[in-house]
C-alpha cells in the first residue's frame, strides 16, 4: 500500500525547481538594471549612500587617525600630505573626523526614521481605522505638533533630556511621528471602506488582526515612500542639533559640530568648515535623489512634485 502511494505521487525532477529559480534571479537582476537605467538620478543617489555606508562601516580602516586622537598632529595645521584636510584646534585630524562622522550621521538617521515611521504608521492606522474620539484626539495632537517649528521642538526635547546619542534619536523620532501619522491615517481611512475589510470583519476577525494583517500591508508601500524622503531630513536635523551644541557630545565626531567649531576658531580656515558641511550635503543629496526616484516609481502621478 505504502509503495503504491509512493509511486503514485509523481516525483518532481530537481532541475525543474532550479531553472525557474535561476530565471527569476536573472530577471530580477535585469529588472533592477532596467530600473536603474530609467532612473539615473536615483541610481546616483543610491551610489552616494552606498559609498557613505561603506565609509561609515570601514571608518577605522579608512581613516588615517582615530577621530579622538589629540596627538594626530599640531593644533591648527593647514592642508598637507600628512593631514589632507588639516587639523582642528586640539590637533585632531580633520579628515579622520569627517570619515568617522558618517557613522553618527547615518546611524542616527536610520534608527530615528525607522522607529519614527513605525510608530507613526501604527498611530496612523489606529487613528484612521477606529475613528471617533481616538481619531480626533490623535489629530489634535498632530495639529499641535505641526503648528510649531520642528527645530524648536527638537531643541526643547534635547535640552530636557540632556544631549546624548539616545536623546538625539528620540527627539528626531518624535519630530517624525506627527507627519507620518497624518499621511498614513489618510491612507487607512480610504483603505477601511474596502470590501475585504468588511469581509474580514464579517468572519469575526479581531480589530488588531484587521489592523495589522489587512490594513498595515496595504499602507506599507506608502510608509516606505515616506521613509525614503525622511532620511535626508533626519540627517539635516542631527547636523543642525550638533551645530547648535545640542548633538551627541564630545569627543564623538559629528559633522554639524565640526562646522560650528571651524566658525569659532581663529585664524579661520575654510577647509575646516567646508569638508564636514560638504559631507552633510552629499549624504542628504543622495537620500533626496533616491527618495524622489522611489516615490516616482511607487506613484508616477507624483512625478517631480514637492
Amino acid at each position: 500500500m505504502s509503495n503504491e502511494v509512493a509511486t503514485g505521487t509523481p516525483s518532481i525532477p530537481a532541475e525543474l525547481f532550479a531553472r525557474p529559480e535561476g530565471r527569476r534571479y536573472g530577471e530580477m537582476a535585469r529588472g533592477a538594471l532596467k530600473l536603474a537605467s530609467r532612473n539615473p538620478l536615483g541610481t546616483f543617489g543610491l551610489f552616494i549612500i552606498v559609498a557613505f555606508l561603506f565609509i561609515a562601516i570601514f571608518a577605522p580602516l579608512l581613516a588615517p587617525y582615530r577621530f579622538d586622537n589629540f596627538r594626530a598632529g599640531d593644533p591648527r595645521e593647514g592642508m598637507s600630505m600628512h593631514h589632507w584636510f588639516g587639523t582642528d584646534l586640539s590637533g585632531r585630524d580633520t579628515l579622520s573626523r569627517d570619515i568617522y562622522g558618517a557613522r553618527i550621521s547615518l546611524s542616527v538617521a536610520f534608527i530615528s526614521v525607522l522607529g519614527g515611521s513605525a510608530l507613526g504608521t501604527m498611530f496612523g492606522i489606529i487613528s484612521g481605522y477606529n475613528g471617533g474620539f481616538t481619531d480626533s484626539l490623535t489629530q489634535r495632537i498632530v495639529d499641535t505638533a505641526i503648528a510649531f517649528p520642528q527645530l524648536l521642538l527638537l531643541l526643547i526635547i534635547v535640552q530636557t533630556l540632556g544631549p546624548s546619542f539616545r536623546t538625539v534619536v528620540i527627539a528626531i523620532m518624535l519630530g517624525i511621528i506627527p507627519g507620518v501619522t497624518r499621511v498614513v491615517r489618510g491612507a487607512a481611512l480610504s483603505e477601511k471602506n474596502n470590501q475585504y475589510i468588511e469581509a474580514a470583519r464579517s468572519i469575526g476577525a479581531s480589530t488588531p488582526r484587521i489592523l495589522f494583517r489587512h490594513i498595515l500591508p496595504n499602507v506599507m508601500a506608502l510608509a516606505i515612500v515616506i521613509m525614503s524622503t525622511l532620511l535626508g531630513a533626519a540627517i539635516l536635523a542631527e547636523a543642525g542639533l550638533s551645530f547648535l551644541g545640542l548633538g551627541i557630545p564630545e569627543p564623538a565626531a559629528s559633522w554639524g559640530r565640526d562646522v560650528n567649531a571651524a566658525r569659532g576658531d581663529f585664524p579661520l580656515k575654510i577647509a575646516a568648515a567646508f569638508f564636514p558641511g560638504a559631507a552633510i550635503t552629499l549624504t542628504v543629496l543622495g537620500f533626496n535623489l533616491l527618495g524622489d526616484s522611489i516615490r516616482d516609481i511607487a506613484d508616477p502621478r507624483l512625478r517631480g512634485s514637492r
Binding site: 517649528p149 571651524a262 512634485s305
Partner: protein, 331 residues
C-alpha cells in the same frame, strides 16, 4: 466666511492650550535647578530658597496633581502652570531672569529684526522660486528644466547653517570683508547698511524655501496645464500667453501659497541658526539663549507666541485661497 474664521480661531486656541501643556510637561522634567544656576557658585541654601520662592519654583507644577498615596488627587490654588496661564490670559508673558526684562518688552524690541528677516526671505523665495519653476514647467525636459530641477534638489539638501558659515568666513579669509555685525542697523536710519546686514542672512535662509517653491510651482503648473479647461481656453482662440498666465498660473499658485505659509513656520525655526550665526538679535536667538539658560517660563511664553503666529499664518493662507480660487467658499 466669518463663521469659518471664528471656528478656526477657537480650534487655534485649543491647539495652543495643548501646546502649552506639552511644552510645560517637557520642560518640567529638565534636570538642573534654574535657581542654582542663577545664584552661581558658593551659594547658601537660604539664598537658593529665596530665589526659588521669587521665581515661584517652590509651588506645585500643575494645578491638579495625581499622587500615588491618598488623597490621590491634589488641587493647588497656586501652581506654576496655573499662574503662568493666568498671567498669559491677562497679557503678561512673564519676565526673563537672564535679561531682567519682561518678555513682552523683549518681543517688542526683537520682533522687527525677525520680521524684516522673514519678509526679505519671503521676497527672495517668491522672486526666485516661482519664475524658475514656471519656466521649468513651460520648457519641460529642456536643458533649463534639468538645470532648475537639479538646482532645487541641491538647494533642499544643503544645510543652511553651513552656507551661512561659508558666507561669513570665505569673504573674511580671502578679502577681509565682513558684513556689519553686532549692532542692529535699522532700515530707517541707514537703509543701505541695513540691507548689507540683512541681505546675506535672508539669502541663506531663502535657499531651502526657494528650492522647495521652485519644485512645487513647476509640478503644480504641469498638473494644471494637463487640465481640460486649459484645452478649452486654447480651443476658443486665446493667445498662448494669456492661457498660461491667466488660466494656468493663477490656478497653479494655490498649493504654492499653502506651502509658503507652511514654510513660514519652518523659517521661524531656521532663524535660530541664522540669527545666531549673523549675530542678529531676533526672536529665534532670544528663544535659543533662554532655552540654554533654562529660563523656562520665558521658553514657555515664546513657544506659545510662536505657535500663535504659525496658527494665524495658516489661517491667513486658508482665507487667501478664496481669492485665488473663487470656487472655494467657506461655509
Amino acid at each position: 466666511m466669518q463663521t469659518f474664521i471664528i471656528r478656526r480661531l477657537i480650534i487655534g486656541v485649543v491647539i495652543l492650550f495643548f501646546l502649552s501643556l506639552i511644552v510645560f510637561t517637557l520642560l518640567s522634567i529638565v534636570p538642573g535647578d534654574p535657581a542654582k544656576q542663577r545664584c552661581g557658585l558658593g551659594c547658601k541654601e537660604e539664598q537658593i530658597k529665596a530665589i526659588q520662592h521669587e521665581l515661584g519654583l517652590d509651588k506645585s507644577r500643575f494645578p491638579v496633581n495625581v499622587t500615588p498615596a491618598p488623597p490621590f488627587v491634589e488641587f493647588h490654588a497656586h501652581s506654576q502652570y496655573g499662574d503662568w496661564l493666568k498671567n498669559v490670559v491677562t497679557g503678561d508673558l512673564g519676565e526673563s531672569t537672564y535679561y531682567h526684562q519682561p518678555v513682552t518688552t523683549a518681543i517688542r524690541h526683537r520682533l522687527p529684526v525677525t520680521f524684516e528677516l522673514m519678509v526679505l526671505t519671503m521676497i527672495f523665495t517668491i522672486i526666485v522660486g516661482i519664475p524658475f519653476g514656471v519656466v521649468s514647467a513651460l520648457f519641460r525636459n529642456s536643458p533649463i528644466d534639468y538645470l532648475v530641477r537639479l538646482t532645487s534638489i541641491f538647494g533642499l539638501s544643503i544645510p543652511s547653517f553651513w552656507v551661512a558659515t561659508l558666507v561669513l568666513i570665505i569673504p573674511v579669509t580671502l578679502w577681509g570683508y565682513s558684513p556689519p555685525l553686532g549692532r542692529v542697523i535699522w532700515f530707517s536710519d541707514d537703509p543701505i547698511g541695513n540691507l548689507k546686514q540683512f541681505m546675506p542672512a535672508a539669502g541663506v535662509l531663502a535657499l531651502g524655501s526657494a528650492a522647495g517653491i521652485m519644485r512645487l510651482s513647476r509640478s503644480s503648473l504641469l498638473e494644471v496645464l494637463r487640465q481640460d479647461y486649459m484645452r478649452t481656453a486654447r480651443a476658443k482662440g486665446l493667445a498662448d500667453r494669456s492661457v498660461v498666465l491667466r488660466h494656468g498660473l493663477k490656478n497653479s499658485l494655490i498649493p504654492v501659497v499653502t506651502v509658503l505659509g507652511l514654510q513660514m513656520a519652518g523659517l521661524l525655526g531656521g532663524t535660530i541658526f541664522i540669527e545666531q550665526i549673523f549675530a542678529l538679535p531676533g526672536l529665534g536667538q532670544y528663544t535659543f539663549i533662554e532655552l540654554f539658560n533654562k529660563d523656562f517660563p520665558v521658553v514657555e511664553s515664546m513657544s506659545l507666541y510662536i505657535g500663535a503666529v504659525v496658527i494665524l499664518l495658516n489661517l491667513l493662507v486658508d482665507v487667501s485661497y478664496a481669492w485665488f480660487d473663487p470656487r472655494i467658499r467657506y461655509s
